[in-house]
Symmetry: C2
Subunit: 393 residues, 2 copies
Amino acid sequence: MITSFHPPQRTLMGPGPSDVNPRILEAMSRPTIGHLDPLFVQMMDEMKSLLQYAFQTKNELTIPVSAPGSAGMETCFVNLVEAGDTVIICQNGVFGARMKENVERCGATAIMVEDDWGRACDPAKLEAALKANPAATTVAFVHAETSTGATTDVKAMCDLAHAHGCLTIVDAVTSLGGTELRVDAWGVDAIYSGTQKCLSCTPGLSPVSFSEASVERIKNRKTKVQSWFLDLNLVMGYWGKGAKRAYHHTAPVNALYALHESLVMLQDEGLENAWARHAKHHNALKAGLEALGLTFVVPEDERLPQLNAVTIPEGVDDAEVRGILLNDYNLEIGAGLGVMGGNVWRIGLMGYACRKDNVLKCVSALDEALNRVGAPVSQGKAVAAALASYNNS
Amino acid sequence: MITSFHPPQRTLMGPGPSDVNPRILEAMSRPTIGHLDPLFVQMMDEMKSLLQYAFQTKNELTIPVSAPGSAGMETCFVNLVEAGDTVIICQNGVFGARMKENVERCGATAIMVEDDWGRACDPAKLEAALKANPAATTVAFVHAETSTGATTDVKAMCDLAHAHGCLTIVDAVTSLGGTELRVDAWGVDAIYSGTQKCLSCTPGLSPVSFSEASVERIKNRKTKVQSWFLDLNLVMGYWGKGAKRAYHHTAPVNALYALHESLVMLQDEGLENAWARHAKHHNALKAGLEALGLTFVVPEDERLPQLNAVTIPEGVDDAEVRGILLNDYNLEIGAGLGVMGGNVWRIGLMGYACRKDNVLKCVSALDEALNRVGAPVSQGKAVAAALASYNNS
């Protein structure tokens, strides 16, 4: 017989899911009510306002997709792209490749603009691609590459796309709530994120937002959206304005309670304060990691505070160190993805996980683990460096 | 400022979500761990065994899709159907129409076999359609129509489909855990369900299972699955056998805790016992509803125990009665869907909601509500009839 599953209490400092605030877990366990209950519909309206604040947008179509971030990505592509379209994708990590898969599965052509993994997307390369591909209708790129920890200048990219008549699709899975993001001011047309990163919520939902220009395109498609589940023309009937909500699919009621609670907490903290918190703890973590002799993959001015990719020292076994952290410290950090597998660790500082005690725990645990596998010892200098960063900030 | 959302404690006797056992809500709020954590992977293996038991199948590819039942439906269609295919859909309610949408969005042709709403699908009509459409590759139908409460003879339908070389896709959203369902013995090739019905779990996941013949077809497709998120060739890399799990998307960790717990409870109760429980409480509810003068939409031998669709008496306002139940009794029952809107109530008896106290509450609350809107009074006869059913069973 199989019995109940009782997970351990981990400290989640990988690329996500990140630590979930107990307050959010408690909200998730409140009594389930119907997805068409008038009180639930009121909660949905609040959710839209809270998401508009988090995204810094007035977009009416700002909702959580009832599935993880990958489905949020697919929502953007299948609604905005039709067969025969040309889409320019600027790739600087794993998730650009997933965008290409999405575009091709829509029957469209993906023009790939390649940047080095670990660097920002280069607007000059995008501009050249736009000039070379006047038929392009859409530009897509990742704001915060979860595979490398690099950030891209969203406004510069969107300005170029618009100058060439393209709409923009932006991946903000790892940035929402953790680092500056301004959908309206930056001219983003479609954006998707995840709940399990800097919102400190459980995984499973994908907040999205669409500009008026995007909604116009969706309403005027020549063909039906290939996914019934993700067709925004239908989803809008459930999430739209007014008391009359049309049943589309059964909303994940309790997961939405959790997201609502996490967004209330973000509102209460203040978005700018949340961004500043991520920056502060990143600086301390950086000081500690550098004192351990670890080097960052991404140049400082293109680096995300919430996703710290560092190179694994020569001769150190990736899995062995992560195993020590997990088994002896209940601490999860992330492995490298794609070509970076085995060479890089990804240390997340996201949402509720982005705290002083976590930074100090991570630095001291890594110090000991590296020591045990034969790497040079910092003799406490690493934790001291992190503490000094706090004292100076 | 928006504050935390505190839902009321409702009694959910609509078409789903149904009442969630507090034990499942508690499981959902356990600490989040990583979706590649070795302990989480162990839990996934248990989940597969538990789902195999619930579906009565040995199918290796038996997993929960990380999204609601509609996405489970789409998973079946986009993986098994390719552009140019012909699919026979037997429709006897709302969800057959959704199947048609799915088929057409795959670029395939849907041959519709229409049955009356409120009746089972007729195998003779399917046989005629199979003979008339030798190019058909797939037959799809609903086991338990949530819009009407009718059940269909799955084995008879699957036998016919196989005799004509077709694979079968079966909607078991409302049947899994509530009424007899035997995937292997009945010859189902692809099946999807939901968590929020007779499993008494929170909404948001869709258990699915695929036969070997289905998996062969999926592996040998001429074209890529149009959905990246739902592509089982990729999903199998995460849910497949062995220690090495490939990252596909971030699993909804806490929702999976809840499903695991609900399946442990089903295992502990025993599947046949769960089916018998649904039948017993249905009989009592039926006795009560009939004593109120309400008539069932579906003939007795085609009726589901867990979804009771009854005709609203002449002159009674649908919304007014449901409003009284919700506001005065915290009791949710379902409105009619599609052409049955305004004419029918759908009273669910699913999973944890399928209890004696709920049956008696529902019958007595309906009695009072009907009385208040001017319908004939049962003078306590309805509750007495339900109680008599229990005493005789």
